[in-house]
Amino acid sequence: VSTTRAYSVSRWTSASVATAVLAGVLLLVLAVAPGLFPANVVDRLTALFIYVILAGMWNALSGYGGLVSIGQQAFFGLGGYFAIRLSEWGVSAYPALFAAAALAGVVAFAMSFFVLLLRAGEFAVGMWVVAELLRLLVNLDNLIQGDTGRSLIALAAYGMELRRNLTYWLALASMTVLLGTVFVLLRSRVGGAIQAIRDNEEAAISVGVRVIGAKRIIFVLAAVGCAMAGALWLATSTTFQPRSFFGIQWTAYMIFMVLVGGLGRFEGPILGAIIFFFIETWFGAAGVWYLIGLGATALAFALFLPRGIWGFIEDRFQIHLLPVGYRLHLRAAASQEAGGEDMGHDNRAGGSR
């Protein structure tokens, strides 16, 4: 028997190594950016990081976990609310943001024992009802003063400049850690299980995947991420209003970013968030027509390009910048010119199953 196998398996390509290096350099540049850029650019970049977090979390949940949720605003809102609550109880402002995200994670963990038992469509709308119920319950807290809202007063202790920079760094660090966690998770054993569930739940069960356990990990992670985004949003806008923090528009933005960027691809939501960021910057002032445009674009992508822009690029040019799957290279007679078949689950169709 020949010792040389007819194939080899690889994960990193030269393109993906280059991407990882570039991403590292970019993060370093962004880390020193507050000293280089004017204040309004720093503010806008903070918003961009929050969008990337939201898109990355919704993609992890729906694109990889197969859990389409219309209610992720539940955790965005909880992040903001808990930050206010904890600050009121004496936790200082910035630690309160982290604690709020962790607390939302605890709520998500408890909730997961129920909501993860729901079937696909029931889960999607059921989460929306959960978000609505949480909004109404938060409204009952006298601290919030109903729809008037409440400010994170403790932030005023910091100077304007320091506050802007701290929030910026916190958003950058949160984005890096959260997306890094998703990346590492997807490449681990659990990640393989999660993608197997997405592709075919029955088949995954038959090969011994613990479905609920794997889904629970991704559900709690997505909740913590969305709550962190909500807490950060509070730090930039300072006033918590239940109607806007628990608003369905947050999930609409997430769906837009992920559908346009590429559902079920790691790079997709990052691209989608950047696109959304520019659309918002240029057309946000158009009000109603801007929203009609967002809805119509999401609809068009669902109909005509369900794999999103990154899915299209990936299929067309076989580029994998941040691979979470594996590549199989055949050395047989008909060795493939195109660089081998991709054996990872990461370039499956944009649909969740």
Binding site: V129, L136, L291, G295, A349
Partner: protein
């Protein structure tokens, strides 16, 4: 008497919920699709009737003759152009597509009609406020009773259509198994489009009654969708008569909740919905059967 009155009004309100839920439930049953634009389409129908009444002076009941076929056509197109196509990319993509459609509809209505709340109550004369006295303290609104009776008639009519007519049987066959239905000569894609048209016609009817019994604005759609979804799930999604039970449970919970706290109307509705869902998924099958047996007096 207060609680009794609340339950009575809640039961009647349940008639409206059953009416708006049955189209949603029907589409889940036949096409296995949750249409997130469901509520927004009901609002669209209400605005169409409002426009006809306000600018052309047409009575809403009369205008229904034009609006219902129009809603049916929209349903046909919705299935052909959006649901059928997006379902090819995965079973959950239609949810995202109809969510996008809902955002477009809500904001387009806002662009056309502005933020003002509207009502159809002004165009139906005394019907909007007349009531019958049951006892000295108990009154039922004539409109509320009409809606309840209409809901029963609608569900009964749908049931007869599904069991007694050829197209109805084709819809049931397609719902059961589209591939096998094709084998015996059913054009399942056409049947799905027909089912969507029927579902949207019921949405048009529900939109009219919603506009008569309350006020509405361009962004009222999502909440109507949630109510429809809650009633459909409480009653058992896919079951037509279940929606009347689901609607009544939801309506009674809401009106009772409103007695307890100003925000109790919505909170109690959502809570009951989640409790029913919780009970159905978490309680083992045996527990549920026991519960059902207790409620029906021992019959298993």
């Amino acid at each position: 008497v207060n609680a009794l009155n609340a339950v009575l009004q809640g039961v009647l309100l349940g008639g409206y919920y059953a009416m708006i839920a049955c189209g949603l439930s029907f589409m889940v049953g036949v096409m296995k699709v949750i249409n997130l634009a469901h509520g927004s389409l009901a609002i669209l129908a209400a605005f169409a009737l409002y426009f006809l009444a306000e600018h052309l002076g047409i009575n809403p009941f009369l205008a229904l003759a034009g609006v219902l076929p129009l809603m049916g056509l929209i349903g046909f197109l919705l299935q052909k152009a959006i649901l059928e196509r997006s379902a090819r990319a995965g079973s959950l993509v239609p949810i995202l597509a109809t969510f996008g459609l809902a955002i477009v509809l809500d904001n387009a209505l806002f662009e056309m009609f502005g933020a003002n709340t509207r009502s159809l109550a002004n165009y139906i004369g005394a019907l909007s406020f007349d009531s019958w006295a049951l006892t000295d303290d108990l009154y039922v609104g004539k409109l509320a009773v009409l809606i309840f009776v209409a809901a029963i008639a609608l569900l009964g009519g749908l049931q007869l259509f599904l069991t007694r007519t050829q197209p109805g049987r084709m819809i049931r066959a397609t719902a059961e198994d589209p591939d096998t239905a094709e084998l015996v000569g059913v054009d399942s894609r056409m049947v799905n489009a027909l089912a969507a048209a029927i579902a949207l016609a019921t949405v048009g009817l529900a939109g009219m009654f919603m506009g008569m019994r309350a006020t509405f604005d361009p962004y009222a759609g999502p909440l109507q969708l949630i109510f429809a979804f809650e009633a459909a799930v409480i009653g058992g999604a896919g079951s037509l008569w279940g929606t009347i039970v689901g609607g009544i449970v939801l309506g009674a919970a809401q009106t009772l909740g409103a007695q307890i706290h100003p925000q109790g109307f919505l909170i109690a509705g959502h809570a009951v919905f989640l409790l029913v869902l919780f009970g159905r998924t978490v309680l083992p099958q045996g527990g549920l059967r026991l519960l059902a047996a207790m409620m029906t007096g021992g019959r298993l």
